[in-house]
């Protein structure tokens, strides 16, 4: 027998298995508006870069009629490839094979590629499209999930982990994405929940559709489980590639530098921000006025939009931005925004990405709902994250920096490396209105015309404290700068910080308030 016939046999076998669940199941998948698992991998990775492993793996289940049933690849495709010529490990659940259900061998394939990613220190991308546990395989499928979650945790902060939800992801399965760094969802395709609409209805009598309970929009806007939202799968893959271009391959490297670019000409930063601290503006415009090419990749755009997080480049190098957004809820800190920012700060710190903080906030959001939902412990997250971060930390105080909000937003006291303030900055325990009412309570109450006295005292307080110079006199801010100098100052600060050496006391790990 010639070698040729062996090769032909191999090709035949491969072709057979690569069809996944077969033409009928593929047709169904397409009808749902979804690409197949293989198409997804090929669309995401560099052309001709994908190499598959464990194609011929088969399940060994015996119960409930599983014996003799062939499930190609056991419902998941694993392999390696490249994005922008840099290696990644990837798995994609194949919904056409037994609904992408997770059995023992399916899980083993996933954990194999996860182990590989961690050992090789390359990013891991997981495409989720699965009906959940393969019930016929019982406790083995639970074991499989557990092994995956454990590895997600091991790899956390070592390699980037990206989850792409392109179909259902329900029950225990949701906890793998939840443990990873970035979750991508697509309109009408992604569905994530712990208990589905039918259980919710039967137990609680609450009528809710799958989309309303755990659709893409819900996770992008309400729950904060998703970091990126796209209209189509192909848009989603473009977002993943863009993200990959901003982040390093692992925690011992820096993100690859790009060619430095100047911000786009046009908007001047001083034209964006009104001097009156009570009038809003779009902080994203301020960020874009200082980043290379005015490019900014916003993360969690629609969740807690009162704080902005995302990546931009300064002189070609990746920088993480955290910024209050006066346009939404006056830019206050609250439970959601603290949680959102804290996690991002920890991400940047883990992956050697300097953090630039743009500050303009009136403080924490008042309200019984906030207090009862635990704004104390949730609000503490952002303090913890900034204090713990040892990457270069630069703050620009644009306007208001009041009270606890001032301390929390990477103040000098949390060991910010550079703190700049615009001349419009107001660093104070609270705004003039609130402060005057307390400090001059007696004078106001005893005045012939209390309202007139109140205004007079507010003005007095404004003159005295609503400026950056009181804090500058203490050295709490390093320099009061002109708005047009912002980019140059940050660039210089980053240059000076390039070999920053700072560390935390030796410990196993801290106990952050989560």
């Amino acid at each position: 027998m010639s070698l040729r016939s062996n090769v032909l046999d191999l090709r035949k076998r491969k072709k057979e298995v690569q069809k996944g669940g077969g033409d009928k199941a593929i047709e169904k998948q397409v009808k749902m508006g979804k690409l197949t698992a293989r198409e997804r991998i090929l669309a995401l990775l560099d052309k001709n870069s994908f190499h598959e492993y464990d194609l011929f793996v088969e399940h060994a289940a015996k119960d409930f009629g599983m014996e003799g049933k062939t499930l190609h690849g056991d419902g998941v495709i694993i392999g390696t490839g490249t994005i922008y010529n840099k290696p990644v490990c990837i798995f994609a659940q194949d919904f056409t094979v037994a609904g992408g259900s997770l059995g023992l061998m399916h899980a083993r394939k996933i954990t194999k590629i996860m182990d590989h990613a961690l050992k090789m220190r390359v990013p891991l991308i997981g495409i989720n499209d699965s009906g959940g546990a393969r019930i016929q395989e019982g406790v083995n499928s639970l074991a499989g999930y557990g092994e995956i979650f454990f590895r997600n945790t091991l790899a956390s902060g070592v390699i980037p982990q990206i989850s792409v939800i392109l179909g259902p992801c329900a029950g225990g399965a949701v906890y793998s994405p939840a443990l990873t760094d970035f979750v991508f969802v697509v309109e009408n395709i992604s569905k994530m929940f712990i208990t589905g609409p039918s259980v919710v209805k039967s137990v609680l009598g609450e009528e809710v559709s799958m989309e309303e309970l755990g659709g893409a929009r819900v996770h992008a806007e309400i729950t904060g489980n998703a970091h990126f939202y796209a209209q189509t799968e192909l848009d989603c893959f473009e977002q993943i590639k863009t993200l990959i271009s901003y982040i390093p391959r692992n925690n011992s490297r820096k993100a690859l530098a790009h060619k430095p670019k100047a911000p786009l000409k046009g908007t001047k930063v001083e034209d964006i921000v009104p001097a009156d601290p009570r009038i809003p503006y779009d902080m994203r415009e301020v960020i874009k006025s200082i980043t290379d090419g005015s490019e900014f990749l916003e993360v969690m755009e629609d969740f807690a939009p009162n704080i902005i997080i995302g990546f931009g480049r300064m002189n070609g190098e990746t920088v993480g931005f955290v910024a209050n957004q006066p346009m939404v809820l006056a830019g206050v800190l609250d439970i959601d925004s603290s949680d959102k920012a804290a996690r991002f700060i920890r991400y940047c710190d883990s992956f050697n990405i300097p953090i630039v903080t743009m500050e303009d906030l009136p403080g924490y959001l008042p309200g019984v709902d906030q207090e009862h939902a635990g704004v104390i412990r949730h609000g503490a997250k952002i303090l913890y994250a900034y204090s713990e971060a040892t990457v270069p930390k630069i703050t620009v105080i644009v306007r208001k920096a009041y009270g606890g909000g001032y301390i929390a937003m990477n103040s000098r006291h949390l060991r910010a490396d550079f703190v700049f303030a615009w001349p419009t900055a107001e660093i104070a325990v609270m705004g003039p209105e609130g402060a005057a009412n307390i400090v001059f309570r007696k004078e106001i109450a005893e005045a012939e015309n209390p309202e007139e006295m109140r205004q007079q005292k507010i003005e007095e307080y404004k003159q005295k404290f609503a400026n950056p110079y009181v804090a500058a006199a203490q050295g709490y801010i390093d320099e009061v700068i002109e708005p047009s100098e912002t980019r140059a100052r940050i660039l210089h600060a980053l240059q000076v910080s390039e070999n920053k050496s700072a560390s935390m006391p030796a410990k196993k790990h801290g106990i952050p308030p989560f």
């Binding site: 809003p280 939009p305 006066p326 403080g363 709902d369 003039p432």
Partner: protein
């Protein structure tokens, strides 16, 4: 600015800020101090039994009704010695969470 009309006011420590609200913020539930004379359901479920009538005097700790939820029968008890003022439910009713079930008063 053309969008200026859409801005809303948010008061933080005496200062009024022009800004926009999120859906989540607008949908937040305003806090109402609980009235000890009103008994609400703490979970959605089914009233499987009701043991009291209007004007009946009830001692603290006596079971007023059974609310079945999540396959559990929950006994709803009288919080103090008092009287049943008004009953808003009947046996077999399926009720949501925070549904007013009984009005009572201490005696």
């Amino acid at each position: 600015m053309a969008e200026e009309k859409e801005f809303k006011n948010l008061v933080v420590q005496g200062a009024v800020y022009k800004t926009t609200f999120t859906k989540k913020f607008e949908n937040r539930v305003n806090y109402v101090s609980p009235n000890p004379n009103e008994i609400y359901s703490f979970i959605p479920g089914t009233i499987i039994d009701l043991f009291v009538k209007t004007k009946q005097k009830v001692k603290e700790g006596e079971t007023l009704l059974l609310l079945e939820a999540m396959k559990m029968e929950n006994q709803v008890r009288m919080p103090f010695n008092g009287e049943i003022v008004k009953i808003h439910i009947k046996k077999g009713d399926v009720i949501p969470k925070r549904h007013l079930m009984l009005e009572i008063r201490p005696i």
